[in-house]
Symmetry: D3
Subunit: 282 residues, 6 copies
């Protein structure tokens, strides 16, 4: 999933920041002077949005002379993107590029840390991320979690079947829904059926029902571990995922419960990666 | 600044989440059943994006029956937005509305806490936020910081003059730039001239030069306090702002240094507000 | 999936047809006269895009007085949509509405006929449609196939795993790919793995390999029937779909082969439904 | 009219198909491998949208090595477009390019067949196509009919004067309208006045009235032939067009009626051209 | 042609002016106070864009209480648009609405004056306007010239045939082109053929050739008058238009030359109408 | 501020003019012939939008062989932009490029003349332009006034504080507002506070109040001169701007009043620059 955002999106970011050009550079009269911009990691970072940052700098009129792929993990103090051009081109792209790189790489880096922590405990566990992205940022966010080694849990409502109590409320509750399951499975032959459980009791009911996957919401790791064992005895074929409040601090503990999948949103927010940008005259 | 995002933006958020309708609701055959959705605070929250969430629910076909304005501060467990409609309408809007409310109110709530903390120390201090928003979120972010009591430091490059070392690099350094200042001020008569200092020495030079505002980057509070005193003696007319790494933990301490303005980005990221959403059949 | 296209899309259709207003109505000076428009089936039709046509007429300034839902099946000569307004409003919306209704209902009607024909043979068979829509029409097309009783096979490349020989070409062929399958299944736990076979031999190899679904491309029904029996013996758990050239003429025959799923594109093109539109002065 | 669709439109087609990258290629880990894609006719084809397909492949990161112009007529088994690049680039563009080429060339090929058939009978006849395109496809459709040798009858409502009974309904019928014709002609000096007749009687009235062109709707060829003769006697200067239900099967017969123009919509729908696409590793 | 611009366009105008809300109103704390806005002519004005201004005010949250149609001619000091709402809604719409009204009505008023002046001399003359609109304003401009009583000469390159020396340059000059005319006329049966002449000699050649209309560029009225007489003798069927530099000062003089059509661009620029806008608290 | 408009905007201008290609060039069959286009000044011109015109020609398929920067002042008869390509590419770009250049350079040239005239009288005076641009043209207009040596007075409502009587109406009038000023200044520390005066009396009140700038609306130069002297005595620190009806005819006279700033809209409209474009076959 390491493609580049469309040009219209990249133009949109530039438009947000300089709808009518750069007043400071214009007033200082330095626009035509030549310079170089360098982007450097300030801590261990899994890069994301380098392709977009490079494209954005090109759109401003710069020439990119060094570019490292999204998904690359770098230690601190590594220069991974460099471009040269007129001062007005460098200044037009500078902060928007930094923002893209910092927010994108922040998500990728958090994701990579969680994937690593979870797989140290359970090498086969899948780390999937929800659709709770900041509105307007889904393309960057999905690219970043892929760059960090995770996959999207679902991209939206149109392509997956995930049943919440907010659905079963219209069917008389969980049990009436489960009686409807056979029909549902026949209609959605190519799609896995996932049902969220709000308690261990519900999880057991769901696991017995023949769904593909039971998603257990907000159960503490120790209770979850016991539940997973029960589910495995009842129905070894059903997959189990844990969701709700999983983050860098508790991911390893959740991985140790024996679930097949961690579903999380926490990578989408938090401190952006810290990336240094220097501009020098040449 | 408490206006509503344009409809095209709100449609865009919906499109991102359900480009082709809601598969689960469609397959369950519950789309036409009637229900109600309620949004409730789970902690002390300064609301933001309630106008957009309401508009979004209307666009999905719901009727809004309760709506509280952005900028309202509520304790936990308060219902502030409620709508009714067909299950397919409620499900279409549910998570996108939650995301808007949680990310928007998260920024507003963090902002409100920092403004409160800083003004307890210095009632006249201004809290301004940078342009380091997540690309694609600027409208939500600016609305949210205003809802929380701050103002934007600058909206982009086109409307303000803020000189960094990345500019003076093209003029031979800070001092040659300062010699150019008189011309700059004459041309930009309606705009305040702000110059960032990377050290106390630079700050003093800048303060003496006749700019409107010196912005001091990443100076620890104790050193900053001493610097502010020196600047006040040299030039009581110049304003001083502190920037770089200011957040909820240290805002009060920075306010105590005597600066006129805190400039910060930290409110833009961090955990979204936690907002409960219930859907019930009616 | 019976939602309405976004307003921006509906405006776009109008813009395509009358970017600067309606010259004929303007020159005739009849714009302000009042009239009524009626839309009527001319043959047995499964309706689609009535919601969009109604919205479009409203955007032109008409008042909708009768509206029937997408997905409704009607015999010939039934009026299903009616609106009143100024002549300039009726003329602005007339042909664009007809086009939407005819192309949308054409797809829905063809789909409904195929679904009916296939389910008469095999009541449990799923009818799924490919992503081979006319570029620019995906939203209408997906709504229409859902209105006709089918579901999308895949919405695009981002949310499903479907392996063609165009993929295995980069892995040394089908067999090397199948050896990689275990890893793939672990990573894509929530997504069904579908592999397309270009011959019965490939289909048997794939069916044994542990994928979720083997898609058999362009095999004549009689050969397919024999193949399905072989696959059922080898691996009763794997699902089988038939793809390639399935249409109204042969859908029943393909349904009789015992496959679980028909995958087809033929509903996307062909003659639009014939819908009458009368405009009368009132 | 052989220009290329705007980049934003081409990006839009890609976005529809892979909004978040290609999951299959990503999971198979083949994205960086090099390959080649070839597009080949499978039957006698008048090409359309080769420029757009090439641009689309370039936008995906491919390098185009062979490109044939829209409007070229090729027999079966001719390779007319070829590109090379990383597997992820080839897979990103593959099906969207095929769809563009197949739908575009399908329209162009049908158009070319009709133009050829009609001109064999009457070398001076014009073949014009209506505005009944699938909503969202007008740019492709108009390019394709031009590539096939036809011209647009009218692009929309803003630039032509075409009077239907749906207009005259607001003027008291056809005859009151015809009395108004002189004024209309004076105001629309640069635009031809076209009036549609729903019967031979109306056609004669219209032909006598001084309009530029009478369009005869849905009259069988034999009756139309007789009518054309009558019109030529009454008014040799008026042009006559036939509209309504003209297609590949009956175009020659309609051409033989002696009308000046065939107006048709049937080229816009029907089976897309069949175009083979192979991807090989290099 | 008196329709309303699409909502997306109207939102775009608002976005240009207040991308992040109204800082002044926000800081003054007056946003929620109620008021009324009134728009009043300051001179004899042909209104345009009142529909758009009203829609724009509604989008800002105002309620429109008086609205007069585009195309209405008013003397000075007439209130033609009024709305009420919160101060923040009134201020959001105020200047954008004024700009729309002033630029739109400026064009409409200039057009109406020219149409009146020309028709006093020659009641049958048509006044048509070129495609030389300010890029980005075509929809407003075309609506405005229609409101003022003119029609568009051509909307763009896609729907008309207008031959300039910049075309004949590729055919060896005017005469070789005229020899090609018969073919051209046969292909473009529904479209009038217009050819521009750069001298009286060319005009006579063109008039004899069988085109529908000869457009004479930049010929002084007295010479044009003589030329028109010559053309009438040579070919009474051909229409003659005058183009190039026609404006309010010389329109009557050009009308007196006997041409059928005046083609002009001068209405598109010039001083906007002066429209008063008052805002009062209520 | 001499950057280029975004590609999407440039495509939009082309789309407006040739949504479906160029009918004339297509029918003449000259599309593939090679030619050259040259753009030449016809009077003393300050260029603007040469970058956009060049980009637009490239998008049409031309190769640019000469390009002069926006902001350059040229005498008559200078060729400043030249491109070569196929006739269809040259014709596609010709008039849109001319329009961009003529409207953009018209604004730039008027601006440059006013700036020159005002600075001859007062070398330190600033010339600023309002936000009263033709809706849809702000990017071109702002680029053009910068090219002509002015700066924007305010880009919109979101980034400046400018108080009109339309604001103070909600506060009980000017004096109650001025009592609120201290609070306002504390909150908007980084923004200059500007207040418009509708009479000399108001101007004096405002000047005494401590605002940064008093803007005097529509006062004749002689009265303004006397007022400026009074203001200088009362408060030498406050800046004074003149607004309302300032144009090329009276700019020097206003400059002579001693104000610091001229604020004007008149450069945005008026006759476009006259630019010659020749196309020749090569």
């Amino acid at each position: 999933m390491i493609t580049c955002l469309p040009d219209t999106e990249i133009e949109r970011f530039l438009e947000e920041d300089l709808p009518y050009g750069d007043l400071t550079t214009h007033l200082l009269g330095i626009g035509q002077k030549r310079g170089e911009i360098c982007f450097t990691t300030r801590h261990d970072t899994t890069l994301c949005c380098t392709e977009e940052a490079a494209r954005l700098l090109e759109k401003c009129g710069c020439r990119v002379t060094l570019q490292t792929s999204s998904g690359t993990r770098l230690p601190a103090k590594q220069t991974f993107l460099r471009a040269e051009g007129a001062a007005q081109a460098l200044h037009a792209g500078w902060k928007v590029a930094v923002n893209l790189l910092e927010y994108g790489s922040g998500i990728a880096t958090r994701t990579a840390r969680i994937v690593t922590a979870a797989r140290e405990i359970n090498p086969c566990i899948a780390v999937l991320t929800t659709r709770k992205t900041f509105p307007g940022t889904k393309k960057i966010a999905i690219k970043a979690i892929c760059a960090g080694g995770a996959l999207p849990h679902r991209l939206g409502l149109s392509e997956t079947v995930l049943v919440f109590k907010q659905h079963t409320a219209f069917m008389g509750g969980l049990e009436p829904f489960l009686r409807h399951l056979k029909t549902l499975k026949r209609e959605a032959l190519e799609t896995r059926i996932i049902v969220e459980a709000d308690s261990p009791e519900e999880a057991l009911l769901i696991a017995q029902s023949g769904v593909d996957l039971v998603q257990v919401d907000k159960l503490p790791p120790d209770q979850l571990k016991a539940l997973v064992e029960q589910i495995r005895q009842i129905n070894p074929a059903v997959k189990v995922s844990a969701a709700g409040g999983i983050n860098e601090q508790n991911a390893a503990e959740y991985a140790a419960t024996g679930v097949d999948i961690l579903v999380l949103s926490s990578v989408y927010f938090g401190k952006p990666a810290d990336i240094g940008a220097t501009i020098v005259a040449v």
